[in-house]
Each structure stands twice: as C-alpha cells, then as structure tokens.
C-alpha cells in the first residue's frame, strides 16, 4: 500500500512494531523463532523443531556458551 498523494509507502504500524520487537530480541542474541521453524519445516520436515522455550534456552546458552564470543561487545 502506498499514499495516493505522495507515492510513499504507507506506515504499517503492525509491521513496524514487529520489526522493533525482532530488533530488540536480536540485540540480546535471540533470533526469530518463526524463521527458525519455517527453516526446519522446509529443510528437515521429519524432525520436530524445538519448542519456543527450548529455542530461547538454546540461544541464551549459545550467546555466552562455548567460545562465548557472541556476547562480545565493544568497549
């Protein structure tokens, strides 16, 4: 959808909100769960994907876990 007068795309608040939410989650190392499920369904349909909770714990452990460099931040 775009504005009829100026031609710029209309502000989609729902989409903006979802992007902000995704951005905030990724800042702390939590990727997009839906994208993960979609990927698993498409590529490994025979294995059940992790639940939302398991996904959260896996991402949390991986941010600070082995190597631990994912949580690296600047000075």
């Amino acid at each position: 959808m775009s504005c009829k007068i100026c031609g710029l795309p209309a502000l989609d608040l729902f989409k903006l909100g979802s992007k902000l939410r995704q951005g905030a989650r990724l800042m702390i190392g939590q990727g997009d769960y839906d994208a993960y499920v979609a990927h698993r369904r498409a590529n490994h349909p025979d294995e059940p994907p992790m639940t939302r909770e398991a996904f959260f714990l896996e991402r949390q452990a991986s941010r600070f876990g082995e190597g631990g460099r994912r949580a690296l931040r600047c000075c």
Partner: protein, 697 residues
C-alpha cells in the same frame, strides 16, 4: 540503483538536495570553528555532524561498495548458504543494523570524548568526524565484507588464513592483551564513579538481586518471556534509584553502602570471577538484557534531550590545554588526542564484532554498506553527544571533576583556586552546589568520564523532564546506566578472555581446551580476572588518578588492534588484485601505525615524567636513592611501588609496539607475495554461481 532514479528531474533534485546538505554542513562547521568569546549552541555541532555523516554515507561508502569492494547482490551470503535457522539466518537489514549497533556501542565512545573535551570541543569534533568517515566506518565496513565472504569467520582466523599462522598467533596474543587492558580500564571507570557514593553503589548493587530474579523468572516461571522479565527488571531498577536517595540520606544506611576505591576493586574482581563461572541464565544473561535495553533507550533519550533542550556549549572551542599541559590527560594533540578519543572515531574492537555474529546474518551483500558503515556513523554520533554533554557543563566544574587530587587539592577551596588560576573562573560555593544538585557530597576528582557525562546528561535530561528537582535522579540514572553496561562488558569480557586463554594455552597443551572441564575453567578464569584485576588495583591506588595512565594505554591498545584489522583489509584488497583501491584502508592503517607507534614510544621514552614512564621512574628512584619522598608517595615502599608500576607499564607498551611492528612485517610480506602473484590469491568461500562466473570469464 534502479534506472527509474536516473531520470533528469530526479537527478537535478538529487544535486540540489546534496548541495544543500553540503552548504548547511560547511556553514555549521564554520560557525563552530569561528566562535570566540561567546557560547555556541550545541545544535551547530549536531547539525555539522549529521551533514558530514549523510555526505560520507551517500558518496564515500557508495564508492567503497561499488568500486573498491565490488559488492555483489547476486552472490550467496553465508546466511543463505549455511542457513540453519539459528546462527546463520538471513535477517532484515534494519533488524540486523540494530543488532550490530547494540554490539559495537559501549562505554568507549562515551568516555573518550569527555576526556578529550579538556582541549575544547573543536579538536575532538574534528577528529571524531574525520576519523569515522575515513577510518572507523571503513574498517567496520571492510572487515564485515571480508568476514561475510568467508563464512563469517573471526578476525583471528582471517588473519591466520590471509597472513599466515605466525601472524595469527601474534594477533591472538594481541587481542587477549588488549582485552585485559580494556577490562581493567572499564572496571576502573566504575570504581571511580561508585567510590564514596552510597546512592550510586546501592543502585548498582541492587541490579544483582534484580538480575537473579529476572533469571529465575525467565527460566522457570515464564520461560523465554523477555519482554515481561525486562519490564519487571526495569521497574525494579527505577525503584532502586528512587530508594537510593533514602539510603544516601540515612546516615546509618549510607555508611553501609559507602566504600573506598580499594574495597570496590576487590569486590569487582570477585564479581567478575563469580559471574563468569556461574551458569549464564542466573546472572550474566538477565543483566545483559537489562543493560542492552537500557543502553539503547538512554542513547535515544539523550539524542531527544539534546534536540529538545538545545543547550549552549560552555566549554571554549579550543582551550589553552591544546599545548599538552592539561590535567585530564597528559600530552599534546598529536598523538594523544587521537589516542584518547579512540572508539568514537575508530575502534579496533569493532573488527571483532564485525567478524562475529553479524556476517552470519547478512541477507544480501549490498547491505554490508548500510550495516557496517552506517552503524559506525551512528556510534560516532553517540561520541558527539558525549562531547556535547561534557561541553554543556561549566568548564570550572568539568576540570574540578577530572583533575587528580594531587593537582587541585582535596577541598573545594583549593580546587576553585587552582582552576580559577587556569582561567576557568569558579567559586568554591559553585563546586559544592554542583555536588548538592546531584545528591552527592563532592564532585572533586571524579575522574574517568562517567560522572562528568552523568552530570552533563542530568543537565540535558532534567531540562527536558522534571526540571531541577529531578537532576539528582537523572544523575544517578546516568551513573547506573553506565555502570550497568560496563559491568556487563566486564563479566561477559572475562568469560571471553577465559575462552581465549583456554584456546591459547590449548594450542600447546590440548587438554586445557575443554571448556566444560572444571579445572581448566577455574584456572583460565582466575588468570583472566587476575590479569585485569592487577591493572585495576594499580589504577585505584595510583595517586595520579589511574585513568591518567590506563586510558592512554587502552587507547593505544585499541588503536593498534584497528591497525592490525586494517592491515588485514589492505592485504585482502591486494590479494583480490584490487590494489588500485587499497588506499581506502592502507591510508588509515598508515595513520594508525604512525599515531600508535609515536604514542607508544612517547609513553616509554618521553623526557617529561608526566608522559614518559621511564622518566617518571627515574625521578622517583633518584629521589628514593637520596632518601627523599615525592608527593603523592608517603613512604619509601610507595616510592618503590610507583617505580615498579612504571616498569610494568613500560614493558606492556613495548609488547604492544612489538606486536604491531610484527603485524606490519607480516602485512608487507603478504602484500609483496600478492603483487608477485599473477592471479587472485585470496581465499573467499566460493559458491557455484561464483565458480560459474569465473569459468565464463
């Protein structure tokens, strides 16, 4: 760019628009540079910065993207090639920008400009803008590009494959050393901000139980509900700040939460050890969430505050300390202003972030420009805001906060007298008043940048919300925000340093690499904390304030890491047979080599004891031999400790110089090999499409 944009009308519009941006930017810079005697509005500084960023992004970064690197939208990124739904995921570019910015934004760009403000706001501004456009943003951009083309591999790995295993080992040791100094200086900033401040200590201490509560909530009560746990944490945090006032005003409680620097240093060392050994969900992760959101929120509110309040800059454009005699840091503009500003202009640490998680999530190569170059411009803007916050203070208050007791004495009277004699007229009452306004007993000698920034931020934010009655709240909010995310860097950094040590020792003794085994874990953690803890303690007991010595060391280390990263970038461009464009990284690399090697050499050999470690050591050991004491040392033992520290610092500087010189050697060697070779010698991960294209060509 699509063809539709190239119509004559659009083209003309674009020329007019960009000419306007250039004119406005030049006018704003001119206004800043020619201001003499009267105050200038901070908006001029902000406007000049934004115009510079826009022009640099539109033209220079596009030139790099198209010509120097040849970003290719058709080429598969690791996010597509190795998509696993977890680490490798093609991600929306705005979402990824936020992730990358949150990872590169830290305390560095907030502290450096505050210290650099002693020379006036103009020198700092000029380097922040020039540095980011031609060095900092270019480094982040090119490293992100290199890593993306190589499956998102890390900086150490990339150096190993492009410059050889010896260079890889040198880089590994370099990164670890820099990490240790970084953690020490960050911890020192927290100590300086919390010493003898019951309100500040109470609120920061309160974050521990709050984090544990969040951790338990997010693991057992409502797993994965990040918004809920963060909201609970935030509300409790605000309550803790409000409660802190009561603590500070109740003598019995205030005594309970007042600590000297030494005690705080030991608590921090203990905390760093415990936090990095405990399970991460318990303390580390929830604090990370809290501090990340608080950081982004506070940076955004500071920006809004500056635009809304439009404060006047009270610091002169160029102060008399441009001659290198200033009390905040020793040494002249070249090289020490550049070393002090560090992160806001160029930060070697970003090379680690740009070769970390971000390259694994790039969905399209052309987005590297927006994320790598763009996020660094934003970081530089954070540094500009910190410079504004320091410059809106009365210069008298600024110097009172940032000079050591050895220089201005311990009372408001002596401080006011000394600072007035420098030409920044201030009364003792004004200094006492400044402390009372923020609910503290004193603001004298609160070096380290954080408290100065907090007062500046409190001034700006209370101008927007709450007025004078809220100044003390905003001050402690700002202190909490800085302490919180510095401590998060300290605990996460200790963990990273621990893994690095295990990796490094593991190359010689493989059993040490097992990250889950308790003995190597505890030994490596203990090594990591005692490394930074030692420098922290020396900084705390240093009568000259510690920041004086440690911040330049940190700056040198950080800029040297940037020189190493840019050397890698140069080598890769030569290996890609794009040496025509190598100047975009070779020029800033050369500058950093000159700047850091000069600074390192001056730190060791300069004849002024305020700058040179050896001269300082000679002065103290000479006096000790004659049985004399030089203030601030009070005993012969203190005299010999000062001499010993000087030798340790000399050694460290020498190690830095050796590291960077050997990288220069490896770099030149690889460039020579690349020039001799007749074809592309770099090792990018290839995909079928790319192979096909090469075969066709």
């Amino acid at each position: 760019m699509s063809l539709a944009l190239a119509t004559p009308g659009r083209r003309l519009g674009s020329i007019i628009l960009w000419s306007a941006v250039v004119v406005i930017g030049v006018f704003a810079l001119f206004t800043l540079a020619t201001a003499r005697g009267e105050t200038v509005n901070a908006m001029w500084l902000v406007t000049a910065a934004i115009c510079v960023y826009l022009v640099a992004y539109r033209f220079y970064s596009l030139f790099i993207a198209r010509h120097a690197l040849g970003l290719d939208p058709e080429r598969k990124t690791p996010a597509h090639r190795r998509n696993d739904g977890l680490d490798y995921v093609p991600t929306d570019k705005y979402v990824l920008f936020g992730h990358h910015f949150a990872a590169i934004a830290g305390a560095g760009p907030l502290v450096g400009p505050v210290l650099a403000a002693q020379m006036g706001y103009l020198p700092g501004t000029l380097w922040l803008l020039t540095g980011v456009v031609f060095a900092g943003a270019v480094q982040d951009f090119v490293v992100l590009f290199i890593s993306t083309r190589r499956d998102g591999r890390s900086l150490g790995d990339l150096i190993k494959t492009e410059l050889g295993p010896a260079a890889g080992l040198v880089a590994m040791i370099g990164i670890l050393t820099i990490m240790v100094i970084l953690l020490a200086v960050l911890a020192l900033i927290v100590v300086k901000a919390l010493a003898d401040s019951p309100w500040g200590f109470f609120t920061v201490f309160a974050t521990l139980p709050i984090a544990v509560l969040m951790g338990v909530y997010g693991r057992y009560l409502r797993p994965g509900r990040i918004f809920e746990m963060s909201a609970i944490g935030f509300v409790l945090l605000i309550a803790a700040i409000a409660l802190g006032r009561t603590v500070a005003e109740t003598p019995a409680l205030a005594a309970l939460f007042s600590f000297k620097g030494e005690a705080l240093a030991f608590m921090l060392i203990f905390y760093g050890f415990v936090a990095s050994v405990l399970p991460v969900w318990f303390l580390l992760a929830p604090r990370d969430y809290l501090s990340t959101f608080l950081k982004i929120g506070t940076i955004a509110s500071l920006a809004l505050g500056i635009f809304y309040v439009m404060p006047e800059l009270r610091m002169p454009a160029v102060s008399r300390f441009i001659d290198g005699t200033g009390p905040v840091f020793a040494g002249g503009v070249f090289p020490f202003l550049f070393i002090t500003l560090a992160c806001g202009a160029i930060s070697g640490f970003h090379a680690l972030v740009s070769s970390g998680t971000t390259p694994k999530m790039i969905g399209d190569e052309t987005q590297i420009r927006f994320i790598g170059y763009g996020a660094m411009l934003m970081e530089s803007f954070v540094a500009i805001m910190a410079l504004v916050a320091a410059s809106v203070l009365d210069p008298g208050v600024y110097f009172a906060m940032n000079s050591a007791p050895a220089v201005i004495g311990a009372t408001a009277d002596t401080a006011a007298q000394t600072i007035s004699s420098w030409g920044f007229v201030i009364t003792p009452e004004a200094l006492t008043q400044a402390a009372a306004e923020v609910g503290e007993k004193t603001v004298l000698s609160r070096a380290g940048g954080a408290p100065t920034l907090a007062i500046g931020m409190a001034k700006i934010l209370s101008g927007a919300i709450g007025g004078a009655s809220m100044t003390a709240f905003w001050y402690h909010f700002a202190i909490l925000f800085e302490a919180l995310f510095i401590l998060t860097t300290v605990d996460a950094g200790t963990r990273v340093a621990r893994f690095m040590i295990q990796d490094l020792v593991g190359t010689f003794w493989p059993r040490f690499k097992h990250t889950r085994a308790w003995i190597p874990n505890l030994i490596a953690t203990a090594l990591a904390v005692s490394g930074w803890g030692w420098f922290l303690y020396q900084g705390v007991v240093d009568p000259l304030g510690g920041i004086n010595t440690l911040w330049p060391m940190f700056g040198i280390a950080n800029q040297m890491l940037a020189a190493i990263a840019l050397t890698l970038c140069t080598v890769v461009l030569f290996r890609m047979k794009r040496e025509r464009y190598a100047f975009i990284v070779a020029a800033p690399a050369t500058w950093l080599y000159i700047c850091t090697l000069t600074a390192g050499a001056e730190k060791i050999f300069h004849s002024d004891p305020k700058i040179g470690f050896l001269a300082h050591a000679a002065r103290y050991s000479g006096a000790a031999a004659e049985g004399k004491l030089i203030a601030p040392a009070k005993t012969a033992a203190e005299m010999s400790r000062i001499v010993f520290n000087d030798y340790v610092n000399t050694t460290l500087c020498a190690v830095f110089i050796a590291l960077v010189l050997s990288m220069l050697f490896f770099g030149l060697k690889s460039i020579r090999e690349a020039l001799r070779a007749t074809s592309v010698t770099t090792r990018e991960t290839s995909d079928e499409l790319q192979d096909l294209r090469i075969a066709r060509a």
